[in-house]
């Protein structure tokens, strides 16, 4: 768990299974490996809880690394149906799904993995191997989360720039010197220098190269 950045929050494993015994035993197992878990007796219950939390945080959910251990067969909404909902919601990247299958459901589980599920584990499962996979899933979730945060951060800083600053920035990331930028925008070199300093400050970078990298990683390619 050392790979996980504590700033991202406490990782949580959501267990969705209709069998109380399974949920309880898995919770014990995860706890013995120092992992928090939360049990849901049905797909509907989990979906409802997720909706509620996402709404409370204005869509910014999950806000900490998480993964779902999902039973394929359940009364009511099946594990696969729930999986489809998660894809629709776009949650799958930050909320990897590991399917728990009975011996008859392997082809279904394989198909699900092809659709983007993290993995499937056949019951009865090898316990610590399952926890290993869970940790990997949490790691993937954390990465996705970090990336999402970065995007969010860059987008916010860009929003703080004035119109003039944005024009200057677009020329700065192309690597042009201040003199050329001043000529192009028909302003004084001195003014360009002031804008550049403010841009670097607002975007939290120290150089034009750093600025360019930041924009690229956040998916904001300079025009």
């Amino acid at each position: 768990m050392t790979l996980l950045d504590p700033s991202l929050g406490l990782p949580t494993v959501y267990i969705v299974d209709d069998e109380d015994v399974v949920r309880d035993a898995l919770a014990w197992l995860l706890r013995s490996r120092r992992l928090l878990s939360e049990g849901f007796a049905s797909a509907e219950a989990f979906e409802a809880a997720a909706e509620q939390r996402a709404e409370a945080r204005a869509g910014d959910w999950p806000n900490a690394p998480a993964c779902v251990l999902l039973d394929v067969r359940m009364p009511g909404m099946s594990g696969l149906a729930l999986f489809e909902r998660l894809i629709e919601r776009g949650w799958l990247e930050s909320l990897p799904v590991i399917f728990l299958t009975g011996h008859g459901d392997v082809p279904t589980a394989v198909a699900a993995v092809k659709r983007g599920a993290f993995d499937f584990v056949e019951k009865p499962f090898s316990n610590n191997a399952l926890v290993d996979r869970v940790e990997q899933a949490l790691l993937a979730s954390a990465q996705a989360l970090t990336q999402r945060r970065q995007h969010h951060d860059v987008a916010q800083r860009l929003a703080d720039l004035t119109e003039r600053e944005r024009d200057v920035m677009q020329l700065v990331v192309t690597g042009r010197p201040n003199k050329l930028i001043a000529d192009e925008l028909n302003i004084s070199v001195r003014t360009v220098e002031v804008h550049r300093a403010r841009i670097f400050e607002k975007m939290g970078v120290k150089s034009a190269v750093e600025l360019s990298n930041c924009l690229r990683s956040a998916g904001q390619e300079p025009v």
Binding site: E19, V21, V22, D24, A25, L26, W28, L29, R31, S32, R33, G102, H103, K123, P124, F125, N127, N128
Partner: protein
């Protein structure tokens, strides 16, 4: 065509009749000509002779008395002479004699009235110094009759000097009569006519009809007459004439015959057309039938097959006709079929009602044929006696239906039913297995998880560890208990089946499975033999379970024979024996490939199967069922310790059940 023929016939007939008639007419004409010629000649001769007879009267030296005597004699001998006169050179009559055979001549007509005629003739005679005739004239008698006469003037010469005339009056009718006396005229009327056509005298027994007329000129001194012969035969009439009648009759008969023939021919043609049509209809009907038709004579030889039948068995009709053992009989069943046929074709017993074969035929029977390509086809045969026009049975007529499709459907439904039964049967096993796996899976998985968790915790123990471990162990215990309950419920379920045991007759057990077994056997071409002694006691068993065991063993046996065993040897024997006072033994014996030692070892192991699609539960389940009843399931292969090298070793399964 018929009209032309009839017309031709009519023309020929007409020509024939015409020829006959014209022949008849020419014959009649010829006859008339001949008569005329002869009578004319005779008349001439009579006249010449008459003139010769007159010679004595012309002698110059004759005395009047002598002349009278001679004249009298002459008138008597020649009736045609009616009067003789002797005249002087001036024409005065010196002597006169008249015939006594007729009335006196010149009573109404005076002699002087005809003197000019005589003068003319006499002057002619004097100039020619030869006799000459006057023209004829009619002398009427008292009473309306009369006679046509001619006078002959003969000059009397004495020493070259004319001394007078002899005048003889000739009766023309008498002249004709005397000529006829010498020359018979037959069926002709003869008459003397003048050149102007007026008739002077007639003779002959019949009257002429004026059709066949012949005329001849009779030359008389200084005068000529015409003799006419008129045949009494009229224009040849058709009917009285025999030849014509015959020809006519024949033609009429021929015409009638031709008409009758034509009508008969037309009727025949109509009948033939109708027959041909009926035949064509029948043929079309037979050809279009999808039912096979086969006729056999009383010896069982095939006398007729229709195309549908040929198509069904794949042999051409020529290959089938006349055969007593047809090629479509399966080789291994020829004997059986022959016996069956003999029994069926045997003349029925006298007391048997006549309708029974018909009824049997209606019901039909099922049998197996082999197509030419070797395919076996089940067929349904309906047979009825073939009776000819005289009511005598000449053979058997069979309608043959190919029931392959029907069997296929039956087989399909049987398989479905079997599958259904199998799944129902497996419901016990499968349901149990599924129940077990699910019910046991959860607690076992949970136990494993708790155990792993406990181990994980022990790796890095802290103050909470002992409490947590205790809790974990408690949960392990709970789950273990839950698993135990599952096992117990399965045991209860098995025990509950024991209560279904009841006394069942062995025959009833076999009867229950036989239909299914027979269906399967028919599919594989195997035969079923039963060995069920009457005196076997009933057994106490769970009927459904034991039926499943029997079915299972029988099906295994049949399937074992499907590959290696020749068709003729595929026999499955189902037997029942009382082995002991308390035990009845059932046996299922096949003639299959037997069971090798390596297979035998694992035969009753669950999930072991020699068949690809087999579940491998059949025999182990069978053994469980039998053992639940307290019996034992065993097998022996080969069936006989020393089996012939070429034959199949076979396998016998035996199991025992307690008597009721």
């Amino acid at each position: 065509m018929w009209a032309a023929l009839l017309m031709l016939l009519a023309v020929v007939q007409g020509l024939l009749v015409m020829l006959t008639v014209s022949f008849e007419s020419s014959r009649a004409q010829d006859e008339a000509e001949a008569v005329a010629l002869e009578v004319a000649g005779e008349t001439k001769r009579q006249v010449t002779r008459g003139i010769q007879d007159l010679q004595p009267l012309t002698w110059p030296a004759i005395t009047p008395l002598e002349w009278d005597v001679r004249a009298e004699q002459l008138l008597q001998s020649r009736r045609e002479l009616l009067r003789l006169e002797r005249r002087g050179p001036g024409g005065a009559i010196s002597s006169l004699a008249e015939s006594r055979y007729g009335p006196p001549l010149f009573t109404r007509l005076r002699r002087s009235d005809v003197e000019p005629e005589i003068d003319t003739a006499c002057s002619l005679a004097r100039r020619a110094a030869a006799p000459a005739f006057t023209r004829s004239y009619y002398v009427p008698f008292e009473g309306g009759t009369g006679v046509e006469v001619m006078d002959l003037c003969v000059p009397l010469l004495s020493e070259g000097r004319m001394t007078g005339f002899l005048v003889a009056t000739w009766s023309l009718p008498q002249l004709l009569e005397s000529a006829l006396g010498a020359a018979p005229a037959g069926r002709h009327e003869l008459s003397l006519v003048e050149s102007d056509g007026s008739r002077l005298a007639r003779a002959g027994t019949r009257r002429g009809v004026g059709v066949y007329v012949a005329e001849r000129i009779v030359d008389l001194p200084a005068r000529s007459l015409v003799l006419r012969a008129d045949s009494s035969a009229g224009r040849p009439s058709l009917i009285p004439n025999l030849a014509v009648a015959l020809v006519l009759g024949l033609s009429v008969a021929l015409t009638v015959l031709a008409l009758l023939l034509a009508r008969d021919f037309r009727r025949r043609a109509q009948a033939e057309a109708a027959l041909a049509e009926a035949l064509a209809f029948r043929k079309a009907m037979e050809d279009s039938l999808s039912t096979g038709l086969r006729a056999r004579d009383l010896d069982g030889r095939i006398t007729y097959v229709n195309p549908a039948f040929c198509a069904m068995v794949g042999f051409p009709a020529e290959a089938l006709l006349g055969t007593a053992v047809p090629p479509y009989w399966p080789a291994e069943r020829v004997q059986e079929y022959t016996q069956r046929q003999a029994a069926r074709l045997a003349p029925r017993a006298a007391d048997e009602p006549a309708s029974s074969p018909t009824r049997a035929g209606r019901e039909g029977f099922e049998t197996l044929f082999v197509r030419r390509d070797g395919e076996r086809i089940p067929v349904m045969i309906y047979e009825a006696p073939l009776v000819d026009g005289n009511g005598v049975q000449t053979g058997w007529m069979s309608a043959v239906l190919d029931v392959t499709d029907q069997r296929r459907v039956e087989e399909l439904s049987r398989q479905q039913q079997e599958r259904l039964q199998a799944s129902a049967r497996l419901a016990t096993v499968g349901e149990m297995a599924s129940l077990l796996s699910h019910e046991l899976n959860q607690p076992l998985a949970a136990i494993a998880s708790y155990a792993s968790a406990s181990l994980n915790m022990l790796e890095q123990p802290d103050a909470h560890t002992p409490g947590l471990l205790r809790e974990a162990m408690q949960r392990v215990g709970e789950q273990a208990e839950r698993a135990g309950r599952v096992i117990r419920s399965v045991h209860d379920f098995v025990r509950r089946r024991d209560q279904h045991q009841e006394p069942v007759g062995c025959g009833a057990l076999l009867d229950a499975v036989l239909p299914l077994v027979r269906l399967q056997a028919r599919k594989s071409g195997a035969r079923i033999e039963l060995d069920l002694p009457e005196a076997v006691p009933a057994v106490r068993c769970d009927r459904t379970m034991v039926e499943q065991v029997l079915l299972n063993l029988a099906r295994n046996g049949i399937q074992a024979m499907e590959t290696a065993t020749p068709l003729a040897q595929r026999v499955l024997r189902l037997g029942v024996r009382q082995r002991h006072a308390r035990w009845v033994e059932f046996s299922v014996t096949d003639a299959g490939g037997g069971i090798g030692p390596e297979v035998a070892e694992r035969l009753f192991t669950p999930f072991f199967s020699t068949r690809a699609e087999g579940m491998g539960l059949g025999l182990s389940l069978c053994r469980t069922v039998v053992e639940q009843h307290g019996g034992a399931l065993e097998f022996e292969s080969p069936v006989h310790a020393e089996h012939a090298p070429g034959s199949c070793p076979g396998t016998r399964f035996r199991f025992t059940l307690p008597t009721a």
